[in-house]
Symmetry: C2
Subunit: 762 residues, 2 copies
């Protein structure tokens, strides 16, 4: 007995001793200025709730005009703003289109303000000025002092519950406003319906239903207050029809139920100066929200919730323990790591119920269900990264995709899906890449046959984005479906992924079919100009063609210079096509060094000017593999120089440190891989391309207690070239390392130097 | 073994032999012309689905103007109309305000019409002309031939599924339109959201969410087709936001999912001429609708569903087997009986799940859940009637009310509730009458203590309709709450009901409190004029006072002449108050014989001119007990003459046979009681007041196989006076009979004559 007790006592201590406190190296404000589109608020790894300040609420349609500025507020917050509208509970991390921003709360004192007001006149609304000096954003905790109502705000969260702590300075007319009309990417008519019930003086329940990017979405809530509500009121209540005919109740003051399209509510606390609020969400129903509340937040010890959240973060962050040349690099690294754990997000109640794509309630049996799949972005590095360091989580994400497939009336895996809705954003069917990558890397957590079947069915849905024509013509004709070249190239890569899955399962004839489709990229190449180029259904190439423009040339978020390199499944063949190694290297060299005329900057989507290096657009995704393509030539050292150049240019430890949207972790996952020195050029292959690591040393904690250790000699800012590299004492002869080599654990020793060792991989 | 088999074989035969086929005596078209507001379509007893033709869809608000005519279409159908818009699945029976009309289907041929068109130009829309010659409405089956598309339509239903049978004459471009924007009492913006999914070529699912009289209501559906849909299309689809930006799918043609505020859909069947459609509804979710569909409608034998529905009707109708002087009287009687079985309606899925008033999903454990409680009407005769002949059903309805109370954030029993919403229509808290009546009559099917607690809490909700003032002033001051006299009188009756419940449970002090409140009616009586009269909060009577007007005089749906008699709990005391028996009888005599000036007809709500006899308004409810008040005097024979006068004047076996709204069975229950010869003047008492029966003979089949038999001698149209009356051979000495006397079973022998036997009850 004594021994057992002793072990129980020391076990947590041992675990904690292994984990450093890495919270100080996470700065959630990175990416909140300009186009990074990250949010600074509180969440836990993969949490359902992202409780974060919103600094503006520009509605998308004002007097019938589409508001350009709404793009700035994809995450609700812009660092340059000087006022906060309030604190809402759901945010995407790094997207370029958006939604969410549910259930805004804002503390206030004195007279009631029902509208947010404008940034210029904060006193005319419920918003408040604030200063970054009085703001602190860390993993799991956000603090800010609101200048006007003089309220100290602290936010933390569990997986499904956002927790607010408001400390009022003045003991008079303190209240909290709830604005259910607030939202991100807020159409004038985004709200469909709202419902609020005052269950008692410390508990309210209800829902908000929206028609946003997710067409049919309802967020149910249960909100618990630490102090009794003394009075309450509503705005925009839709009275019952009968109430309007004969007589009226006063439905706006202390009437315990309200419904309507655009409800707002005030909860008064009189002279109470310390109020905590727990906001539990559910996508299923009010009962789900109540159960989430009860299960995850049984007490009112705010600091204890913060400790729990930060412990969860340290647990995740310590999966990679690394040292760097500078504090800034360490902050950039761990903030990137933080970003990779922000999504996809948990999407089920504590009892495993969730609303599926078919608008029906499902039970996630034997897996954890996730949502927010920005797959055109995340298949490249984010999912391969999770597959490496969180294989169980990645497998559950795949199970979530397969559930989506089962629920899809279109019989398709997700394209860009969130909260029981497919929004069809971007192109390709890159779910299959995520499936293939996990299968090829032998992630055991899902049914491979089921995955292959879903992939094959998805890839044959003729109605989808030129896919029928792609199958018929062996390329997508531009006159039949726009962005045709990007589609052909990405479909071909996806088909190669399906071929790998078929091969893995010994389905040879299926493998042959998809290997053939995987080569369709060749049909887009115009050898007369050395670029991929749109073709018409009569087989001819598009006549007028601008290889630098990203608009109307057959590409999406990229131009011919970048997209012509999009054959991750077969760079060697591409190189032959493009005229051999010399020509290929010239293309790459030019890409990174050419001077792009001004007019092309203006038209590039989703990124700031400094997201572009030469003509290489790091801020968008289609070229993320491109710096690694030198590894397929005799000049692998150029990959090393290029990635070491990109790292500090595109990732900085400051609010405007991201050159483009973080895109649900993709940009950050690229950073982590590249900083560690290896990258999955073609997810679905077991190979990672090697590059020059920027760490001084690192330990990656893998499954089953295995460790992959990295020791780097002569690490320095100028020492960007690998002089020698060995795994477990054996030199690596090619600029690649396999998944198996990493996950088996071991010791990678790298020696760096200021000049390339051009003989290294020969 | 042989014996058992034999018994199994003959048992159904025996049961059927006992039941006559009473279907021919039910004419659902009665009440469909003018103000009866009944519907002619197909349903089963207490069924959730009421599948019925709608002849117009006048929206309630047109260009900001309230449309008077919308009142005509409370049940969707008016007999005088010559065209049918389509067939929808939910209808109230006999209400004066309305809602529902969900999921309209309409068969058509040739070119697609998306809009209903107008009655004057049916060819400009999907509606069709029809003729009553080609229309047949019976219990459980509705048939009509649509002239324009030349389609024979047959409708039947189970509890939760409406079944359509369409026979097209022409084998060309046959299709069915579904219009989810159709509804009853249709506000311009009544639709909140719709969702449709084409699960496969014979199954669709979805929901329609409305903000109607029920403020927040969603009807989920699962619709199964007997023939494959060859093509389909939608109107008013809200595209996903992204779809609008970059590219478009064709979301209106053969795209298997649609959402939007006002969806319409077309399902094509090409040359197929015979199509059956099963429409299952649920208030819970799509899974509920699917389960209801599968459970209740496993096959495609339309006639078998009709037989099942009619067997259910015969089962109910045979509870009272009666003979009459004429076929018309028999039809009136059995159609009235049919109407009493139309509501409250079943409100739960086959798995007992339902959406509660708190918008959460509940399980009806140990009872059947019902909705649509038009209690200001139905507490008078409909619930007492069900309590007599369907005590288990009535007890389940009470359990449903108690569940409503448990889910009510206002902590109140239902006032007028339907489909998870309280619409607060009319006045009083008459749920307590239903509870008290069932308790006093020893209906064992619910928890009496729980019922009393709910009643007491309900009766003390000060925010409700002058109730706080009623408690403080011992009457409702007109300057504080309108219709004040009606409120005081009805609250006082309700309080008497609570007193009876308290007494039954031996709670003497509670009994005393409510007996005191039960006498508050006295505070409204102005002895200077002999009428109940509004008072102000200073105690004074309202100065200008019109005893004939029903508007602005302190009454609702009644005037001082009628409402002054509203003391059902204590007619004897009322008589004393009014100046003694002579004066009381004069008041009654005048009421039935006076000539009401024209201007008062125009203002009387909800009834046709012939719903008024003298100044007695039978078409509205407040005086339903009044003809029986003679029984409390020495001139009980006047009750007999009066009710026999009312029966044929107010109830006729033709479409315009009802003088006012049937009000969810109340008018019909009055008829049944009165035709049988007894009536519950004060539900909550065990007494029924006797009158002159109009049957020749009758058997009421009661619980546990007991029978109450009635044999009438000398029955004739002119023989309206009881000459003698005896129960089990013993003369009845007072013009009352108790519940116990009836439910014990026995033989009531009545002898009739053309002149009153004035000594009968002395």
């Amino acid at each position: 007995m004594r021994t057992v007790l002793f072990l129980l006592f020391i076990l947590p201590t041992i675990l904690r001793a292994q984990n450093s406190n890495l919270i100080p190296f996470v700065n959630p404000l990175i990416g909140t200025k300009n186009a990074g589109h990250t949010y600074p608020g509180a969440t836990v790894p993969f949490g359902s709730v992202q409780l974060s300040p919103d600094t503006d609420t520009i509605p998308m349609l004002v007097n019938g005009q589409y508001q350009k500025d709404v793009y700035r507020y994809c995450a609700g917050y812009q660092y340059d703003d000087s006022s906060i509208v309030g604190f809402s509970h759901t945010h995407f991390s790094g997207t370029g289109h958006s939604d969410l921003g549910d259930i805004l709360l804002m503390p206030n004192s004195g007279s009631i303000q029902w509208n947010p007001g404008t940034a210029g006149q904060t006193d005319k609304g419920y918003r408040s000025r604030f200063s970054h000096q009085n703001e602190q954003a860390t993993a799991g905790l956000y603090r800010v002092f609101l200048d006007e109502p003089k309220v100290q705000v602290e936010l933390t969260s569990t997986e499904r519950v956002g927790i607010h702590h408001y400390q009022f300075q003045e003991g008079k007319d303190n209240h909290v406003l709830m604005d259910l009309t607030h939202g991100i990417y807020n159409y004038a008519d985004k709200n469909v319906w709202c419902f609020i019930r005052m269950e008692n003086d410390t508990l309210i329940t209800g829902y908000r239903q929206t028609n946003g990017w997710a067409r049919s979405r309802t967020v149910y809530f249960a909100i618990s207050f630490s102090k009794p509500i003394t009075e309450y009121g509503f705005k925009n209540v839709k009275p019952t029809a009968y109430n309007g005919f004969w007589r009226k109740f006063d439905v706006e003051h202390n009437f315990p139920e309200a419904a309507g399209e655009g409800l707002k509510a005030i909860f008064k606390f009189g002279s109470e100066t310390d109020v905590q609020i727990k906001v539990a969400l559910s996508s299923v129903d009010i009962d789900g929200a109540l159960l989430n509340l009860k299960t995850e937040c049984p007490h009112w010890n705010f600091n204890s919730y913060v400790e729990d959240a930060q412990e969860k973060w340290n647990e995740k962050l310590n999966i990679i323990q690394a040292d760097f040349l500078s504090q800034d690099e360490k902050v950039t690294f761990y903030t990137s790591l933080y970003h990779t754990f922000l999504g996809p997000t948990l999407y089920m109640d504590v009892d495993h119920r969730y609303k599926g794509l078919d608008q029906r309630i499902h039970q996630a049996n034997g897996f954890v269900n996730y949502t927010t799949f920005s797959l055109w972005d995340t298949y490249r590095a984010q999912h391969p990264f999770l597959n490496l360091i969180q294989p169980k989580v990645n497998a559950d994400m795949i199970q979530s995709m397969l559930a989506h497939y089962d629920q899809s009336v279109h019989h398709m895996l997700p394209v860009w899906s969130h909260y029981a809705n497919e929004n069809w954003c971007m192109i390709g069917y890159h779910s299959v890449s995520v499936l293939a990558d996990a299968m090829i890397k032998s992630n055991p957590g899902f049914d491979y046959s089921r995955a292959l079947k879903a992939a094959v069915t998805t890839s044959n849905q003729r109605f989808y984005e030129g896919l029928g024509a792609y199958i018929d013509f062996q390329f997508v004709p531009e006159n039949l479906s726009g962005n045709s070249v990007s589609k052909t190239l990405e479909y071909a890569y996806d088909d190669w992924c399906i071929a790998q899955m078929a091969k893995k399962l010994g389905q040879d004839s299926l493998h042959a079919i998809y290997q053939k489709r995987a080569a369709f990229y060749k049909n887009q190449f115009d050898s007369s100009i050395g670029f991929m180029r749109p073709r018409m259904s009569d087989g001819s190439f598009k006549k007028e063609f601008d290889v630098l423009s990203t608009h109307g040339q057959g590409f999406i978020e990229g131009n011919a210079w970048n997209y012509s390199l999009y054959v991750p499944q077969d760079p060697k063949s591409l190189m032959e096509f493009m005229g051999g190694e010399k020509r290929f290297i010239e293309h790459l060299d030019s890409l990174f060094t050419m001077s792009l005329p001004d007019k092309y900057f203006a038209e590039t989507e989703d990124i700031m000017r400094d997201g572009i290096i030469g003509n290489y657009v790091h801020g968008n995704e289609p070229s993320h593999h491109v710096p690694y393509l030198y590894n397929y030539t005799s000049q692998a050292w150029k990959t090393q120089a290029t990635t070491r150049m990109i790292l500090p240019l595109q990732y900085k430890a400051k609010p405007d440190g991201l050159g483009g949207n973080d895109d649900c972790g993709q940009m950050s996952a690229w950073y982590i891989f590249t900083a560690l020195g290896f990258y999955p050029v073609a997810p679905g292959s077991t190979d990672y391309a090697l590059t020059s690591t920027s760490v001084k040393s690192a330990t990656i904690h893998l499954s089953e207690g295995k460790q992959f250790n990295m020791v780097v000699k002569n690490q320095a800012n100028n020492n960007v070239y690998i002089q020698s590299i060995s795994l477990n004492g054996i030199p690596l002869l090619k600029p690649f390392i396999t998944h198996e080599q990493i996950v088996s654990g071991g010791m990678l020793e790298v020696k760096m130097g200021p000049k390339p060792n051009k003989k290294l991989f020969h």
